[in-house]
Symmetry: C2
Subunit: 278 residues, 2 copies
């Protein structure tokens, strides 16, 4: 198959490496000429240019740009696409974006391969990045069945775990398990900076160990990613944050009122529930 | 040196293994006869009994019982101790406990080796558990200098990183970096169980990945440990929890009011501050 990839960073580059290994012909699009050269050199694409018109021959386009550029890219692609060319994306928030993209091009199918890395950019691209990772496909009710099937087959061919759901359900789910943890974890770091006594502050920094390291990990990550989650999944994230605040207030109340058996029951319920998410 | 260890679980057993390897003679105390036998068999102690009177010959006693039993054990030991025998403990909260224990025995020096494991009990004991881990020594102003020096030397001989501070400062510091994360993390698990839509709930469980796993890890741990933190370090933990709630409310407010550049600045500050704790 001829496949276009727009945006040659970590995800676009990694997709290119795997898709070429599967025998597809990969057409890359990047703004910067040196990225085009690097992508060809490392074998992530067969050819690359900054010109969207070069994608006229492809049967599938995967948009791997930052989230704000996805819908505008679909719009800019439209004049160059053959009828029934399937367009998908890899954005980590789906709701409004899928509606907007599908309004430009009905053969658009939202996608979200959940395979992040600490590093970003083409240099961090690697083969088999998507193996055994979730790959969520988020069609609308109006999306053509053939387009959905093609994106599902693409994800399957990368040996990802393919899940299909509505864009709205996707956004609610990732708010809970991906976006809420970032805000919870960042707030922990911020709180630990509020200690007014310098001696205690330095001591806390010396004593912080694996427990603090785990709980603060995603809150100490890339601020642009956290901002993107909040900005594009604002409503679902706020819903999760408010529910979280209620739970935190409830645990705090149990401690304030010394309701120890209820506190132990809550902590035991957390211990029991966690494996269902892993 | 002749050293007594009261309570032969993970910490008591691991201390015994290392101290015997360093050439000390270790006298064990456990309530259950089969624990005494197991401790001798595995080489964690030279001898073991349930009788505190057997500790008459020792120069140092390390109390490794659950936290609630530490001060009562010091009191019960007093009739059997030679003058100037140093008594220390390994409890993870220090404030009231150190005051109470020192009232029974002025040669008591609080200690907290910060070396946990997921498993508990004597069977989980291992050599070198304390190497490169923090070991906090928490004397009072009235504690004899020789007693402090002995406990510091003990911790040093285990190749731990020895820190000395007041019991109150210890409790404030561990509230921030150890006890607060447990409540923050448990609240995350509780919040994620509040999704009213069954489809979204199942989807969230399927999509939860490394970010959720890290942030929820300590909240999904042993409920007895979490309860102990809240119960014995209640005041410091509540102080940290209230500060955390303020930070969380502030991040939530930035999202509600779409103050994106301020949110990004906060997330960037978290990213920058985290390494100071690791």
């Amino acid at each position: 198959m001829r496949i276009g990839i727009v945006g040659l960073g970590l995800i676009g580059g990694s997709l290119g490496l795997d898709l070429r290994a599967l025998g597809h012909q990969v057409y890359g699009i990047a703004r910067r000429p040196d990225t085009c050269v690097a992508a060809v050199t490392m074998g992530a694409v067969d050819s690359a240019t900054s010109d969207l018109a070069s994608l006229a021959p492809v049967e599938l386009v995967i948009i791997c740009t930052p989230i704000a550029a996805i819908a505008p890219t679909v719009q800019a692609l439209v004049p160059h696409l053959s009828p029934e060319t399937v367009v998908t994306d890899v954005g980590s928030v789906k709701g409004e974006l899928v509606k907007e993209a599908a309004a430009h091009w009905p053969w658009f199918v939202g996608g979200h391969p959940m395979a992040g890395k600490a590093e970003a950019g083409l240099a961090a691209a690697e083969t088999h990045l998507f193996v055994n990772r979730a790959y969520v496909v988020t069609p609308l009710e109006t999306t053509p069945a053939a387009a959905i099937a093609l994106v599902q087959a693409l994800a399957q061919s990368l040996r990802a775990k393919v899940l299909t759901c509505s864009p709205a359900d996707h956004d609610l789910a990732v708010a809970w398990i991906s976006h809420l943890p970032v805000m919870v974890s960042s707030s922990l770091i911020q709180a630990c900076l509020q200690e007014p006594d310098e001696t205690v502050q330095v001591l806390a920094q010396s004593l912080a160990s694996t427990g603090f390291a785990s709980t603060s990990r995603v809150g100490g990550g890339n601020p642009e990613l956290g901002l993107m989650m909040a900005r594009y999944n604002r409503e679902a994230l706020l819903r999760s944050l408010h529910s979280y605040q209620t739970q935190l207030a409830s645990i705090t109340h149990l401690i304030e009122t010394e309701q120890w058996s209820q506190l132990e029951a809550t902590l035991a319920a957390s211990q029991q529930a966690r494996p269902e998410f892993l």
